[in-house]
Amino acid sequence: MAKRVPWDRETRWRRLDTLLAAVIVLGVLAYMYELMVGSRGLDPVYIAANYGLYVTAVTVNLYMTTVAYAVGMTAGFFLGWLRTIRSVPIKKVVHDFRAFADTSSRSKFVLSGALGLTVAWAGLKYLVRRLGDAYVEIIRGTPLFVQILFAWSILVVNFPGLFTNPTSVAFSAGLLALTANTAGYQAEIFRAGLQTVHSGQVEAARALGFSRLGAMRHIVLPQALRLIVPPLTNEYIGLFKASTLVFILGVQTEITFVANRNAFAGHIFEIFAIVTAIFLLITVVLAKVIQALESRFRIPGLGIQQTRAERPRARPLRLPEAPTP
């Protein structure tokens, strides 16, 4: 157990920060309440009787969001990586091939085949990259609402036999659209992260004998991930809230209930209050957890220095240095 550090000035300010933030949030909420509900008041009996329904509905969103986010992250990483590489080294391909042909004793037939394959491979890589560009632009440029309907249409029109009931079609389509959407956005987040890591880091890794993939895994990605945690968190929260849109397909989410005016007439504000509270709770807790992780894994000396108080750690005794050999 870490020894409890007595509050220093920094820590006190930090506590005050948190308090102030809480006061502001609560103040804004109070104002929203006053503006929208006002003297009409909320029906506590309705809330007490029905909040469980909405909690259940939000778990559907949470589940969809998390699955879509995780799959989208994997796809987004590779897509983002792909997009960091802009040029096709045709010159290098030809040069390598010429060097190979010079030293090789293989027949003309084999060599021409090898050249064909090499050029085809370079061309394929080029094509995949341009497709990646197009994908990101399409995802960013069109509304999620349309994407959801599009995903649904694809499943219904192209795979009519795959699903046994409308609910599973709706759920799958929602998941597909959310995944495709977040992959596009996360690709850009990853691209930014990967491009921010200094090229000297890669060079040093390569000079030690790391492969391209090894350098990515052990040096670039760990650094990039730390840089992109805030936008990635943002993306998760955004996706979570956007996931409410899948109600249009009939997936049972909280908004479905809101939209179903006949069943819930007269309690619209209660429903909004419940949903708002659940979303706020989840996102605030999530943000706090991520914030803690962020300071735990932050790279010392990078960016604006945070206070030491946040990350106490055992430091070796500062002995006078041994003379160099």
Partner: protein, 241 residues
């Protein structure tokens, strides 16, 4: 040990190396000097193939390495490199920096790698800094960690690319001391530097490179004090005073 035969390198239309040849015997320390932009760094990078030469051949222990079928990763394991800007991995401690190549490239078990890393950090005089992150170290300390990191891979030769040019004057000494000790122990080294004291004491040969060609080659005494070429004379005159 290291042999370079007539290498040319183009960056676009820029002809950076114009047929450089170089032969470094085992245990030799060769210092490369020359004005900035003369291709010194590119020459070093061509040896461990961080930059692929467009023409010419590079040999390490009589194996031509710039052939497509030779794994580049293998080549770089044979030759350690130290950079002007250190390039320590910023998210890892000094110790982890030294260990990473051992565990991930060479596949050595963690405890063994840790023991070796400790030993190497002690060798460069940084045993007490093993848990410090690069940002918490001075430039000189960072560069010594970088040397330890390169040595950890048991390279057959070491390349130093202006290892002291990014350092404050007070830290240059400690890095040069480590390098001198390394040379005395018989490490094969190619050093791009403008530290004339170091070059005179340690180098078995000096290579003066300008505009991508070797202008003059000889012992420190010959190149610094009795240069044959006019260009060498004017360059040496500017840096020796």
């Amino acid at each position: 040990m290291i042999r370079v035969e007539g290498i040319h390198k183009y960056f676009g239309t820029l002809h950076v190396l114009r047929g450089i040849s170089l032969n470094v015997a085992k245990g030799e320390a060769v210092v490369v000097i020359g004005p900035s932009g003369s291709g010194k760094s590119t020459l070093l990078r061509c040896i461990n193939l961080l930059v692929e030469p467009d023409e010419g051949r590079v040999f390490i222990e009589d194996t031509q390495v710039n052939r497509p079928e030779v794994r580049r990763e293998w080549v770089r394991e044979q030759v350690g490199m130290v950079f002007q800007s250190f390039n320590l991995f910023t998210h890892l401690t000094a110790m982890q920096n030294v260990m990473l190549g051992l565990t991930q490239v060479k596949g050595i078990p963690k405890d063994e790698a840790a023991a070796k890393a400790r030993q190497l950090l002690a060798r460069v005089g940084l045993a007490v800094k093993e848990n410090s992150y690069p940002a918490e170290l001075s430039g000189g300390q960072q560069q010594r960690v970088a040397i330890a990191r390169a040595l950890a891979m048991d390279p057959k030769a070491m390349l130093f690319d202006e290892p002291t040019s990014a350092l404050d004057p007070e830290y240059i000494r400690e890095v040069l001391d480590v390098m001198t000790a390394l040379a005395r122990e018989g490490m094969t080294m190619i050093v791009v530097t403008h530290e004339m004291g170091f070059a005179s004491n340690v180098a078995s040969r000096i290579l003066f490179v300008d505009a991508g060609v070797v202008i003059e080659e000889g012992t420190p005494e010959e190149v610094f004090h009795h240069p044959k070429q006019e260009r060498t004379r004017s360059f040496v005159g500017k840096i020796l005073r």
